[in-house]
Amino acid sequence: MAATQEEIVAGLADIVNEIAGIPVEDVQLDKSFTDDLDVDSLSMVEVVVAAEERFDVKIPDEDVKNLKTVGDATDYILKHQG
């Protein structure tokens, strides 16, 4: 069954917490990965790979640059999840 928006945000919060040490409650739709959540370009690759596994979705490298905020990533996963 496909994940809901709420489930996706919670999953991304777990992933960002693991990778960047940011508290899960700080991971909100409007937060920028790089500016707000301490996720640099290398760590973003880790976030993407972890999200791909968790939500059974493929995120090609050329799409990663468009995922600026948690909301961008959530929308992308909602639209493309398997």
Partner: protein, 423 residues
């Protein structure tokens, strides 16, 4: 002094070793004659011929926050812990620039390892094979590159005068400190954070060193396995950790009122050109390094009261070094208390020169030489050539200027001798 021959001093020390998570606990363990060697309990150890090692006393992940630790190879974690301790110990309160007492453009970092990020390389290869290309960490390259510990320490303290990584196997840490002394002596920098680190307790390095017949297989007596100068020594015990010192020009240290542990007098360097792994049996290359040290500095052999020997507990290497000391110093070698601290820490490879420089500096500062433990039957060739400090720590002369040497030699025939002197 001319700007190209400045006096260099040690103003900070830091370490994380098999004996303790900082320099103070490491020193306490050394003076108490404690062994850091343990049986290897990991599942992979069961099939190894060598099933003992000296792991760090404090896991680095207990000290470094997880998000930072997961993007650092274990060797860089050790280096960072030791460097941050040394930096604070030197009296700096923040990174260069933010702490106005040091200019980032005049600050360097030189941290070496013998093998580099070997556990990252091997672990990520396991990930590649087991989970596929996509799962290989994007942090792999900056984690495994041999300059990673130096670069990460440089970032942490804000070093812009140059960040370097000399590699010479088990002489790497000492070569790093020698390089740092030269950076300051010749005017390239005022302050340099320097030392060595190693994290190679992993089945592949242990199998490889074991198959070279270089390591002790005394699995039944872990704490007695590292026994330099003992007649029954059968190879080194692999240790891990880091030792880092802050070196500074004497003028810079005086201007900011820093505590000075010792003067870093200089280095002597040579290469054997004899064999890729076997030491030259008469210690000819080592003699050359010692001679270079005496020619290039104002060190007086009469002042040398202590030698922190390379002495890894291998049959040939331990004796070659003592023969060289006797050959170069003659009767003066009689007043040099020789300590093999690897009897307690194991052999930290590229980390050894760092940790042993910390030990050498503290020996001068506290005027006490750590013991060599596990010497039950002193090798007659050791007895004939040197005064080995056995069993218990020994007091050094309480008055007057005293000096000490720290020897480090590496596979490839690299010989580095560092000299420190009381102030």
């Amino acid at each position: 002094m001319s700007p190209t021959n400045r006096t260099v001093v040690v103003t900070g020390i830091g370490a994380t070793t098999p004996l303790g998570g900082d320099a103070a606990s490491t020193w306490e363990g050394l003076i108490a004659g404690r062994s850091g060697v343990r049986p290897l309990e990991q599942e992979w150890a069961a099939e190894q011929a060598v099933r003992i090692a000296a792991p760090v006393a404090v896991e680095p992940t207990e000290v470094i926050p997880r998000p930072q630790a997961r993007r650092l190879d274990r060797s860089a974690q050790f280096a960072l812990i030791a460097a941050q301790e040394a930096w604070k110990d030197a009296g700096f309160e923040a990174k260069a620039g933010e702490d106005a007492s040091v200019d980032p453009d005049r600050l360097g970092a030189v941290i070496a390892s013998g093998i580099g990020g070997v556990t990252t390389l091997l672990d990520q290869y396991d990930v590649l094979k087991e989970k596929g290309v996509r799962r290989v960490s994007p942090h792999t390259v900056p984690m495994l590159m041999p300059n990673s510990p130096s670069a990460n320490v440089g970032l942490a303290v804000g070093a812009r005068a140059g960040v370097h990584t000399p590699v010479s196997a088990c002489a790497s840490g000492a070569e790093a400190i020698g390089y740092a002394i030269e950076m300051i002596r010749t005017g390239r920098a005022d302050v340099v954070v320097a030392g060595g680190t190693e994290a190679a307790i992993h089945p592949l390095p242990i199998a490889a060193f074991g198959n070279m017949m270089a390591m002790s297989k005394n699995n039944d007596d872990p704490q007695g396995a590292s026994r330099p100068y003992d007649a029954a020594r059968d190879g080194f015990v692999l240790g891990e950790g880091a030792g880092v010192i802050v070196l500074e020009s004497a003028e810079h240290a005086a201007a900011r009122g820093a505590r000075v542990y010792a003067e870093a007098v200089g280095q002597g360097i040579s290469a054997d050109a004899h064999d890729i792994v076997q030491p030259e049996p008469e210690g000819r290359g080592i003699s050359q390094a010692l001679t270079n040290l005496l020619e290039r500095t104002d060190l007086d052999p009469a002042e040398i009261v202590h030698v922190n020997a390379h002495a890894t507990s291998t049959p040939a290497g331990d004796i070659a070094e003592l023969k060289a000391l006797r050959k170069v110093f003659g009767d003066e070698a009689d007043h040099m208390a020789v300590s093999a601290t690897k009897s307690m820490t194991g052999h930290l490879l590229g980390g050894a020169g760092g940790v042993e420089s910390v030990a050498t500096v503290l020996a001068l500062y506290h005027r006490i030489a750590p013991p060599t433990i596990n010497v039950e039957n002193l090798d007659p060739e050791a007895e004939a050539n040197a005064d080995v400090v056995r069993g218990e720590a020994r007091k050094l002369p309480v008055e007057g200027r005293i000096a000490a040497l720290n020897d480090s030699f590496g596979f490839g025939g690299h010989n580095v001798v560092l000299a420190f002197r009381s102030v």
